[in-house]
């Protein structure tokens, strides 16, 4: 018997991270599909951390619901996570910290002692991975190949580290064999033909923006968006680029306005509290028509909320982030590829319609590592704003649509104005001008309906429509529902505002649109109902992503209730 899909959960403190990375990287190198999840407390060191590695023979969409194997580094981790183990799941515990009664499904290892035994106290992660590999029949040779590749760094100590890691693997595996407990063997890997990369969402967001010509970035540290600032500081370097840490999010947004005005392709990344501080500046960018991109990596809110947990509760505040009549373009990627192409599209949209665009990410994406097909960057077509090259005396804001933008040093000087303004950018309160300006600003959104969407089982009258990071778990739920014979369709897009051409009519034609989303109010379904779509949410607000099995049950119940309602009517 072999099993095609394993979920391994690590619970403990900081020590879980290196073991997670080692297992995930080794599995990906060996040709498995890997998908990780992590959640941390908001402190520098220590505190309960848990992570999860899913490795599968087949492509996967989600982080996996119930672990097959729990690695508990302390008693708290065991107590918290043991109830989540699937029936028959196995626990490996750190016997230096605590003991468990023998039940045939657990065994203890003193990982630190075994690492010391091989003369490399830092090899605890390899002891752990050795034991896990033994439990799930993951070939040690695959892990050794990864070890050798990773630690061949041209240093004198390479051989000693590689050998001791190998020895640590063997000791871990031996300890697992000695326990007499074995779960099942994972099937042989079935790597795809295509080239793969292994990356995080911050890598993809940074890369996508750069591929679209981004040359200006500022940011203020905030969880879980800091990774993007760090990525930019170290990678978007050299001539004609500017990356800098600001003194606040208020400074960030206004600095982007200055840079966008000056002709740069400018971006920042933040999370809820920073987005709130940017509110007035976003309104200014919309009003004065300055291209810029804000990445909002959602965490739990409001106020400081849950800085290191995931939630999809910023949708209202992204589409309507500022006071007054605004509706900001929002792209919400749901996986790593979409982080790349969505980020590039956000930069292009900002240039095209000359205004602010929000890329709406979330903590589950930012903490995920995944191996995916190497994206084809040539698919990104760089768009540059129209620049004014005529004579002075230009009427920057006269047209009813987007118009070429003068840049400092060039002709057509004007005032980019946050007050309602006439064609020169001079302040006015005339009703006719405010009406014209409002129509001009909203009309430009029509330039952005070139997004795409997925439409599976188009004949179904009831569809699921998740958004953002819930895409993966929802897709697994959708597949499970199809297997159960539930007649349901799937509609998905990362282009939440404006919707891709034709999508709103499609949604309106459905009897029911079921929106799984991680917030209390059901924000996306509420916005859809504003547009006269019969949408209802399935909500969760635990700070954690959906479990696909439970989600499938809740969707099925909603579908059944809907059908009963139709019969009774």
């Amino acid at each position: 018997m072999e099993k095609r899909d394993f979920v391994v959960r690590f619970a403990g403190e900081a020590n879980v991270v290196t073991a997670t990375e080692a297992l995930a990287s080794a599995a990906a190198s060996a040709g498995y599909y890997v998908y990780t999840f992590a959640t941390f407390p908001s402190q520098i060191l220590g505190g309960p951390i848990w992570t999860q590695v899913r490795m599968s023979v087949d492509p996967v969409f989600g982080q996996g619901d119930y672990p097959d194997l729990l690695v508990a580094f302390n008693k708290y981790g065991y107590d918290t996570h043991h109830p989540e183990l699937r029936a028959g799941g196995v626990t490996i515990y750190n016997s230096k910290e605590f003991d468990l009664p023998v039940d045939g499904l657990n065994f203890g290892i003193d990982v630190e002692a075994l690492a010391k035994e091989v003369g490399n106290p830092r090899a605890t992660n390899f002891v752990t991975v050795g034991a896990i590999s033994q439990e799930i029949g993951f070939a040690l040779d695959d892990v050794k190949a990864f070890n050798k590749a990773k630690y061949t760094r041209g240093r004198d100590s390479d051989a000693q580290i590689i050998d001791s890691n190998d020895a640590a693997l063997e000791l871990g595996a031996q300890a697992a064999r000695d326990s007499g407990i074995f779960i099942e063997s994972i099937g042989a890997s079935n790597p795809p033909e295509y080239e793969q990369i292994m990356a995080e969402s911050s890598d993809m967001i940074g890369l996508g923006a750069m591929a679209a010509g981004l040359d200006y970035y500022v940011g203020y540290p905030i969880s879980p968006a800091t990774k993007i600032l760090i990525w930019m500081e170290s990678r978007m370097v050299g001539e004609n680029t500017f990356v800098h840490q600001t003194s606040s999010e208020i400074e960030s947004i206004n600095t982007l306005i200055g840079a966008g005005f000056a002709g740069r392709k400018a971006m920042t990344a933040t999370a809820g509290p920073g987005l709130s501080l940017m509110s007035e500046g976003i309104g200014l960018a919309w009003m004065s028509e300055i291209p810029l991109v804000i990445v909002n990596v959602q965490r739990g809110g409001p106020a400081t909320g849950l800085p290191t947990k995931t939630e999809q509760s910023d949708l209202f505040s992204c589409i309507h982030p500022a006071h007054g009549d605004v509706r900001i373009p929002v792209i919400a990627p749901g996986d790593l590829e979409e982080c790349l192409f969505g980020s590039a599209k956000a930069v292009n949209w900002a240039e095209r319609y000359q205004g602010p665009v929000i890329l709406l990410s979330e903590m589950v994406l930012s903490e995920r590592t995944q191996n995916i097909e190497k994206p084809d960057l040539s698919k990104i077509v760089v768009e540059d704003r129209q620049v004014y090259t005529g004579e002075n005396g230009y009427h920057r804001y006269e047209a009813e649509e987007v118009s070429p933008m003068p840049l400092p040093g060039g002709p057509g000087a004007y005032v980019a104005n946050g007050s309602e303004h006439d064609e020169f950018g001079d302040t006015t309160h005339l009703a006719t001008v405010h009406v014209h300006g409002t129509h001009r600003r909203f009309g430009k959104l029509n330039l952005l309906n070139d997004g795409t969407y997925e439409d599976i089982n188009p004949d179904a009258s009831v569809v699921m429509m998740p958004w953002g990071g819930s895409k993966g778990p929802a897709r697994e739920a959708f597949e499970a529902l199809k297997d159960r014979g539930v007649d349901i369709g799937w509609v998905y897009t990362m282009y939440l505002n404006p919707l891709p051409d034709g999508l709103l009519d499609l949604l309106k034609s459905k009897d029911l649109v079921i929106v799984p989303e991680l917030n209390y109010q059901g924000q996306w379904s509420a916005l859809l109902r504003m547009d006269r779509v019969n949408a209802e949410s399935i909500t969760q607000y635990t700070g954690l992503p959906f479990k696909s099995g439970l989600l499938a049950d809740r969707v099925e119940t909603m579908v059944m209730q809907h059908q009963e309602g139709k019969v009774l009517a």
């Binding site: 370097v237 400074e251 500046g281 004065s288 400092p408 946050g418 302040t427």
Partner: protein
Amino acid sequence: MTTKNPNYDFKWCPGCGDFGVRRAVEFALNARNEKHETRMRDNVIVAGIGCSGNLVHLMEADEQPFGIHGIHGRTLPIALGVKSGSPDSNVIIVAGDGDFLSIGMEHIGPQAQRNLNVTAVIMDNGVYGLTKGQSSPTSNFGMVTSSTPFGKIEAALNPLSFYLEIGVSFIASHYSSKPRELSALIEEAMEHNGFSIVHVQSPCTTYNDTYEQLKGSKKKGIEPGIIDLPEDYDSSDRAQAMNVVSDGRVPLGVIFKENRPTLGDQYSSMTGRAPSKASPEKILATYAI
């Protein structure tokens, strides 16, 4: 109403100090353009919210500078973006005491530490004029305004002392009645390689008319509030500067000036040390399995 835009209907009150400041800014920009062989289009005026910010719409020259009239208090971050995004542009901030020193105060320190190469011309009238006369950070203690009907109960901020303490690398002070003299200071501030502030007493004839206090009145026995700098004044001497700004009167001239690298200088030197720019394709290749 301007030559450029006859329909523009904003007006300063008769006698407003901001008229003089506008003339001074225009003189200074013209002089600078001539000296550097640049054009108006190479200048960007970042305006605050309040009476003074409207200066950006009221420039009278045939060729206009670029302008941003943004949101209350955020001129400096906007200027940071313009200057770092377009280093060849000459960036001037025009704002009042409410905008710059109350809601916008948090931005002065960071630009001082960066030594951002921009020039701020601050029109201080000691009152919120556009909202019709509330107390501002520079309103005197005890001053009766619409928001302090029983007198202001906070001490007045000393802006020059604050600029000096927080590390602004060029500080000048003047008043609005002498546009030619003021213009020379603004020009010198724009020549300064670093963060420069020209703090101008610009009276509000409607809510806080301080002309008499500034110029004095022999008839009424009022001593002038303005004071010339001593002949041997050394603007590189921080201690002497501290002395002058603690006097309580309005000194006329360059109070303090020091030369140190700007944000632009430091950034260029840092990028000189950093590896050269990698293409997205090259970066992508680093994630290969």
